[in-house]
């Protein structure tokens, strides 16, 4: 049961930002609503006002000067079917193809997913590995937040109260780039997600590893990345077990319905190995 709220439908980012500033915690941005409305129906959160941002013009996917720019209002369905995403970021297209179910993908937006920061979400983990930037705007300013700095805690991001996430910018992978995202879970949402991204030119460089879902927020695992840097494929494969242990610990896994801490740490290691091998193939 939803309690009554008022609806605002601004048409520009500065209007949205102004409303957020004016109404503070009593208002919330509403885009697809797939996560927000559930929390409101459960009575976990309540807002006097919802600010429907779907009149903003952030719905495009563009490829320009080596960057894929995704409008925050793109739905998961638009991203799973986007030609630009499928061609340039197939791992991301596959991730989007497997988000929740067809109805959630139809209305849920990438921006809403990232800003809601539900711990058991897929996109943030891969975006950290792909070194994506979040574009945060308010009335008079725009700034970039790297994906790895964006997620602070469960349901908490680096956005200021009156900032709006408008775009996600991902460096388009070069010919030598390899990346993959794998998840595992037995409930509706994943228990663990692991992403890897690196360049392969005889040896491995620019290795990035991220883990998500297991703990409060997706995070980069630099301590495990060092085990791959400058290594040949074969040498890197020999380090997979150790990297998996490090990544498992770094996941800050929590025991909950999705599995015990030890179980999730183990699965992080398994997925890291599989993600690395799948990125190579």
């Amino acid at each position: 049961m939803l309690r009554r709220f008022r609806l605002e439908e601004p048409e520009s980012v500065s209007e949205v930002s102004e409303l957020l500033g004016r109404f503070g915690d009593s208002a919330k941005i509403y885009a697809g609503g797939t996560e927000l409305l559930l929390a409101m129906k459960e009575g976990l959160v309540q807002y006097e006002r919802l600010i429907n941002v779907k009149k903003l013009k952030c719905k495009d996917v563009t490829l320009e000067s080596g960057q894929v720019t995704i409008g925050a209002l793109c739905t998961h369905h638009e991203l799973e079917t986007s030609q630009a995403i499928k061609e340039n970021l197939p791992a991301f297209a596959k991730l989007e193809h497997n988000v929740a179910n067809v109805r959630v993908r139809q209305v849920g937006t990438i921006g809403g997913n990232l800003c809601f920061a539900e711990p058991h979400a897929d996109p943030g983990t891969l975006l950290i590995a792909l070194d994506a930037k979040m574009i945060a705007e308010k009335s008079a300013s725009t700034r970039e937040i790297s994906a790895e700095k964006f997620f602070i805690d469960a349901f908490e991001t680096a956005l200021e109260p009156d900032e709006v996430l408008t775009q996600i910018v991902i460096p388009a992978p070069t010919a030598s780039a390899r990346n993959a995202y794998l998840k595992f879970g037995y409930l509706e949402r994943p228990s663990v997600g692991v992403a890897v991204a690196f360049n392969l030119n005889g040896q491995i460089s620019s290795m990035r590893i991220a883990v998500g879902c297991a703990g409060p927020a997706p995070r980069r695992v630099q301590e495990a990345e060092a085990l791959f840097e400058g290594k040949s494929k074969d040498d890197a494969e020999r380090n997979l077990a150790e990297a998996g242990l490090l990544a498992g610990r770094a996941a800050e896994a929590i025991s909950d319905l999705h599995g015990s801490q030890e179980y999730k740490e183990h699965i992080v290691g398994v997925l890291l190995k599989r993600a690395f091998l799948s990125a190579l193939s």
């Binding site: 008022r6 102004e18 609503g33 559930l38 006097e48 929740a100 139809q106």
Partner: protein, 169 residues
């Protein structure tokens, strides 16, 4: 600001017009009204079911502009200017849709509670992909849950309907 904002305590009414099963509807809704409640309680079409209420089970599936949504978690004002199809709108001139006929012919349901959602989701699938593989069908349909019978006969029903629809009968 574009327009002055009124107090939270006053009811806000949003006039919307949309197409429901091919017929124009013009109603006023409050922002918090859910599409499921509007269709079931105000417009009297009870084929769409409330079940899990959290977008997991698919019993509340409706098609909006041909695509499946969970009516339990869709705000009613969102369908303004759009076309909504419920199970009641699927048969044409008293003739069942091939999916409805196939579910009957192949025993694709038992209690029937999930069936309106199953059939509408399957329609969206076949409209976009008239000849799905079984893997594609399962991926598309995995968000629609049946707790009676298992999925074998549902899959058979959808595959049979796909064949009928491709043959243009």
């Amino acid at each position: 600001m574009a327009k002055p904002m009124s107090k939270v305590s006053e009811a806000q009414l949003i006039p919307i017009s949309f197409t429901l099963n091919g017929r124009l509807q013009e109603i006023e809704v409050q922002p918090h009204e859910l599409l499921l409640d509007v269709v079931r309680e105000r417009l009297g079409l009870t084929g769409v079911k409330r079940s899990c209420d959290v977008q997991v089970c698919g019993a509340c599936t409706l098609l909006v502009d041909g695509r499946p949504v969970s009516a339990c978690t869709t705000l009613a004002f969102e369908v303004r200017g759009r076309s909504v199809l419920t199970i009641e709108g699927l048969a044409e001139n008293g003739k069942l849709h091939p999916l409805q006929q196939a579910f009957i012919d192949h025993g694709g349901f038992q209690c029937g509670f999930c069936t309106p959602g199953m059939i509408l989701a399957a329609k969206a699938l076949l409209d976009e992909n008239p000849d799905p593989s079984e893997a594609e069908l399962k991926h598309f349909m995995h968000g629609n849950i049946c707790r009676c019978t298992g999925y074998k006969k549902i899959i058979e029903s959808i595959m049979a309907a796909a064949k009928t629809m491709r043959s243009g009968k």
